[in-house]
């Protein structure tokens, strides 16, 4: 008994008090609930056959999005806990330690496990459909990427109730995160969760570069690709060049922590600044990895709902390429105050300001696309409209202000900075991904989301967002720094903080309304009317909603940009490579990607607690599974013509 209590106190953290107990009970109940539902509907087999083992890019995309929305909930709860703590001065709702853990998991989850999977989910769903492909180039690898991400995310979330969450901030600067100052397992969780998910992400980058370069339908030259596909091509390149830096820096930190090395320690020649440089060499491109796909979505949405061609297509492509190159040359602006010297700071200040130029070009091109259009304010268009002012304020005005190195000495690490990056990440990425989610929802599920309920969610979220983050610019100028778990009264910080908290909860209401809208729409919205509900322009809308497993019964031949729009207008004729339907070559489902993810989790868990038996077992299992794949030759099948014809008939296409 005492042995159990010892275990419970050390690993389950029962001594931490009611917050943990409640979480334990809730997690237990949720797990029981999920299992009960699966048993009741005898759905285990369905779950395994249709989802866990799938290599279909559409289903993988949907799983990414579901996971991302769950993580948005988790990260959002973290945010509301923080805002509750900061609503009043000298509050002690959370202890310092709890607050430190919560802001760390909030940042880590929102960027790595919410924004990233939302982006990757949408690109999985849309890109193959937009380029006339039947799947991504490496469907099996795609499944591995997903399960690596999923189990990485699970590993970080387990930390909350088993062993303790990381408390070094999402940027995790040494020497604080060295074992000397931060002993517990929390920081190891951070390292392993990001490491596992990050390796999956690199594979995704490779996968989509190859998919886009090699699998476009005949006729679709690079400059005839939809803008979203361009944005994903560029994002994938960014991933492939940036993420290895993260992999290396996390590995170094892990070696420091579990093997007593001195890469980033303060003694024996270690150099903490190296971590910070390496981290931001990944970290700044990462910002563009999550924002460029949003730019791609806006380009599609603006053009579709204005019923107009995208204005300045080549300039849009050029500006994205420019942003990509510049994004690798600005990382020092995350630490102007670290004494790199005036020449270095000047260089990185100017390179940062230069990014405003291509970004400005994009904004003006979107406005010109809308100009003389006929703008339909549907939900995707509304989220796009909310993006433009938010991003001009967050990325444009305050972004340039922060790039001015001497001024940054006053902004750095203050709430001014916090407000700035929330304006870009929420106002840019989240709004963009929600616009994309609404836009492609009919394509994913075959029905639309209810407009009226969606508008309620929209207004609550967008107004709440501004109420939450506008006062934070002021708080920064008043001298409040990020990551303070409490603040004294008498500095005038209370009112802006209180307003900010109100805004935070309004965003929470917005999120709940969004969930309600989805649930309501699942139950009540009419099915089978959503093949091309937006009168859209690109290839995916020529398909049934949802698209069949093989996407295209016959491979289309592309004539130009906005192919589907001009087919509908009679300017292009619909042509196919194959005169009649042929057997379709498709990859087979496999349970191994799931198992690889699971065993990576086991190995990662072993690293966290330095239980090397688990590490060896986990990694060995992964190796065996990989070897098994190497000797597999029967990994594809052909869908016979009769089945394709039957499916197409049922969809009313023949």
């Amino acid at each position: 008994m005492s042995q159990f209590m010892n275990f419970a106190n050390t690993f389950l953290m029962w001594k931490e008090g009611p917050l943990i107990w409640i979480s334990d009970v809730l997690i237990g109940l949720t797990s029981i609930g999920i299992i009960a539902v699966l048993v009741y509907f005898k759905a285990f087999k369905w779950l395994w056959k249709e989802w866990l083992t799938t290599v279909d890019h559409k289903k993988i995309g949907i799983m990414y999005i579901i996971a991302a929305l769950l993580m948005l909930f988790r990260g959002g709860v973290d945010a509301l806990l923080m805002r509750t703590q900061l609503a009043f001065p000298n509050e002690h709702f959370l202890t310092a330690q709890h607050y430190d853990e919560i802001f760390t998991t909030h940042g880590t989850i929102m960027i790595l496990f919410m924004a990233m999977p939302l982006v990757i989910g949408l690109m999985n769903v849309a890109v193959p459909l937009m380029i006339g492909a039947r799947d991504v180039a490496f469907p099996y690898l795609n499944a591995i990427s997903f399960w690596m991400f999923f189990f990485g995310a699970m590993l970080l979330n387990v930390s909350f109730v088993f062993g303790g969450s990381p408390d070094g901030g999402w940027t995790s600067y040494p020497p604080y995160v060295e074992k000397m100052f931060d002993p517990g397992p929390g920081e190891n969780y951070y390292i392993m969760a990001l490491q596992i998910a990050g390796i999956g992400t690199i594979a995704t980058g490779v996968n989509f570069i190859v998919t886009i370069l090699k699998m476009r339908a005949p006729g679709m030259t690079l400059m005839k690709m939809p803008m979203f596909v361009w944005s994903i091509l560029i994002t994938s390149a960014l991933i492939v060049f940036a993420f290895p830096a993260l992999t290396v820096v996390l590995a170094q930190l892990l070696i420091d922590r579990i093997a007593g090395a001195h890469f980033f320690s303060t003694t024996a020649g270690g150099m903490p600044m190296n971590f910070i440089n390496e981290f931001w060499i990944w970290g700044h491109p990462e910002v563009y990895i999550v924002i460029l796909p949003a730019f791609g979505v806006f380009s599609e949405v603006v053009s579709t709902f204005s019923s107009k061609r995208l204005f300045g297509y080549s300039a849009m492509v050029g500006s994205m390429v420019a942003i990509t190159f510049l994004s690798f040359g600005v990382w020092v602006h995350h630490f102007f105050t670290m004494g790199a010297g005036a020449a270095v700071n000047s260089f990185f200040g100017i390179s940062t300001m230069a990014i405003a130029i291509p970004t400005g070009v994009k904004i003006f091109n979107w406005l010109s696309t809308m100009y003389k259009g006929r703008i339909r304010f549907t939900l995707p268009m509304m989220w796009t409209s909310a993006f433009i002012p938010s991003f001009v304020l967050g990325g444009g005005v305050t972004g340039v202000m922060l790039a001015v190195a001497p001024a940054d000495y006053q902004f750095h690490n203050s709430y001014f900075l916090v407000a700035h990056f929330h304006y870009t990440l929420v106002g840019g990425t989240v709004f963009g991904m929600l616009a994309g989610l609404y836009y492609w929802w009919p394509k994913m599920f075959g029905f639309q989301l209810d407009e009226r309920r969606g508008r309620h969610a929209f207004w609550w979220f967008v107004i709440g967002f501004n109420v939450c983050f506008l006062p934070q610019f002021l708080l920064g100028l008043m001298g409040m720094t990020r990551r303070m778990y409490t603040y004294p009264s008498g500095l005038g910080w209370w009112i802006p903080n209180f307003i900010s908290t109100i805004g935070g909860f309004m965003m929470g209401v917005g999120f709940l309304l969004l969930v309600y809208q989805i649930v309501w729409s699942v139950r009540h919205m009419p099915r089978g009317v959503a093949d091309d509900p937006w009168d859209a322009r690109t290839l995916e809308w020529s398909l049934p909603s949802p698209a069949p497993e093989y996407n295209f019964a016959r491979t289309p031949i592309i004539h130009g940009r906005d192919e589907w729009w001009y087919i509908k207008r009679g300017k292009f004729e619909q042509e196919f490579v194959e005169p009649t339907i042929q057997p379709i070559h498709m990859p087979k489902s496999s349970g191994r990607p799931f198992l690889i993810g699971l065993f990576m989790f086991v190995a990662g868990f072993g690293f966290v607690f330095e239980w090397y038996v688990l590490v060896v077992l986990g990694l060995l299992a992964v190796l065996v599974l990989m070897a098994w794949r190497s000797f597999e030759f029967d990994y594809y099948h052909h869908i016979p013509v009769s089945v394709v014809e039957k499916t197409e008939k049922a969809l009313g296409r023949l």
């Binding site: 007593g260 320690s265 920064g476």
Partner: protein
């Protein structure tokens, strides 16, 4: 004359900003700087803000007009939008204008970035005859953050303080920053921008207070549980009062012993303290060398040794004690 006008302009703009932002009586130290460094930085906050605000205003106006004018209404049901691919002239214009704006902001950025490396011009002449080290006109202060407190040393005067600073008004102060333990960031928003302090590094920061008063300083870089409490008051007073204070500390405060010093390096939060010099003459000789805090590089044990041998009574919770190396 031109300078005055410029100051006036900056002053008025920032005053408007302050009023707009805060209503009444609230302190916004970044916008109400009390020294030349902060004022220099304020100019570089206001100028880009105005330029960018103009751009933002144009975008917002265009955006609002387009949204209202071209929205789908029943009246324009049959309207077919024109097919426009682009417009080279327009696209050139909105590429060139931002380039001009960036250049306009970049020039003062570079100038001030280099300027801030040099000490600001004193507004009050230093009384070199009372200065114990006449070769140095400015006050040098060694700053070191430790888990979770600020240690300050005045090498020219041979005194140390914890969690509070006294500086002469109108004189540039040469802060030499280092850290014992995790890094922090030394920030006195009313006087000027921050600089990080890191173990094994000496980073410099010039600040100067032009009017007497007490200003709040804090750490701006998260360093663990006690980080939010790493605040200190900076009292700027006349040279005479400052030297009076130095004399008082020398006369009335205890010496900083090795035991006391070790205790200060343990993770804890403490109040303010004064010390009349470091007791170990080898560890600290009051010279002008940039050695950081007494003992960090001169004979005192390095932090990891202190941590592994230190008692945990002063440490608190999970972040204390244990050595990893």
């Amino acid at each position: 004359m031109r300078r005055t006008r410029r100051w006036l302009k900056t002053g008025i703009t920032s005053a408007i900003l302050v009023v707009l932002l805060t209503g009444c009586g609230v302190q916004v130290p970044v916008l109400q700087p009390k020294g030349p460094v902060g004022q220099e930085e304020l100019k570089l906050i206001v100028f880009p803000f105005i330029l960018m605000a103009i751009v933002a205003f144009i975008v917002f106006a265009l955006f609002a007009w387009i949204m209202v004018k071209y929205r789908a209404k029943p009246e324009n049901e049959g309207y077919v939008p024109p097919e426009t691919d682009g417009n080279t002239l327009l696209e050139t214009i909105w590429t060139v204008i931002p380039i001009i704006i960036v250049v306009a902001i970049a020039i003062p950025t570079v100038i001030v970035t280099f300027k801030l490396l040099k000490p600001p011009t004193p507004t009050v002449a230093a009384k070199s005859n009372t200065n114990p080290n006449p070769s140095k006109q400015t006050v040098v202060i060694y700053v070191a953050s430790s888990e979770w407190k600020w240690l300050f040393a005045y090498p020219q005067y041979g005194i140390e303080t914890v969690n509070h600073l006294e500086i002469p008004v109108g004189q540039p102060v040469d802060f030499q920053l280092t850290a014992i333990g995790p890094m922090n960031s030394f920030w006195i928003p009313a006087l000027g921008g921050m600089e990080m302090d890191m173990p094994g590094k000496d980073l410099g920061l010039w600040l100067q207070a032009d009017s007497p008063g007490t200003y709040l300083g804090r750490s701006a870089q998260y360093s663990g549980k006690g980080f939010a409490h790493m605040t200190f008051n900076v009292t700027a007073q006349s040279q005479t009062d400052f030297e009076q204070w130095v004399k008082q500390v020398k006369a009335n405060s205890p010496k900083l012993t090795a035991t006391e010093y070790k205790k200060l390096l343990q993770p804890s939060t403490v109040g303010t303290m004064d010390f009349a010099g470091f007791v170990n003459p080898n560890g600290y000789n009051g010279s002008m060398s940039k050695t950081g805090m007494p003992g960090v590089r001169a004979g005192m044990p390095i932090p990891s040794d202190i941590k592994s041998t230190g008692d945990s009574s002063t440490g608190s919770g999970s972040s204390s004690g244990k050595s990893g190396s």
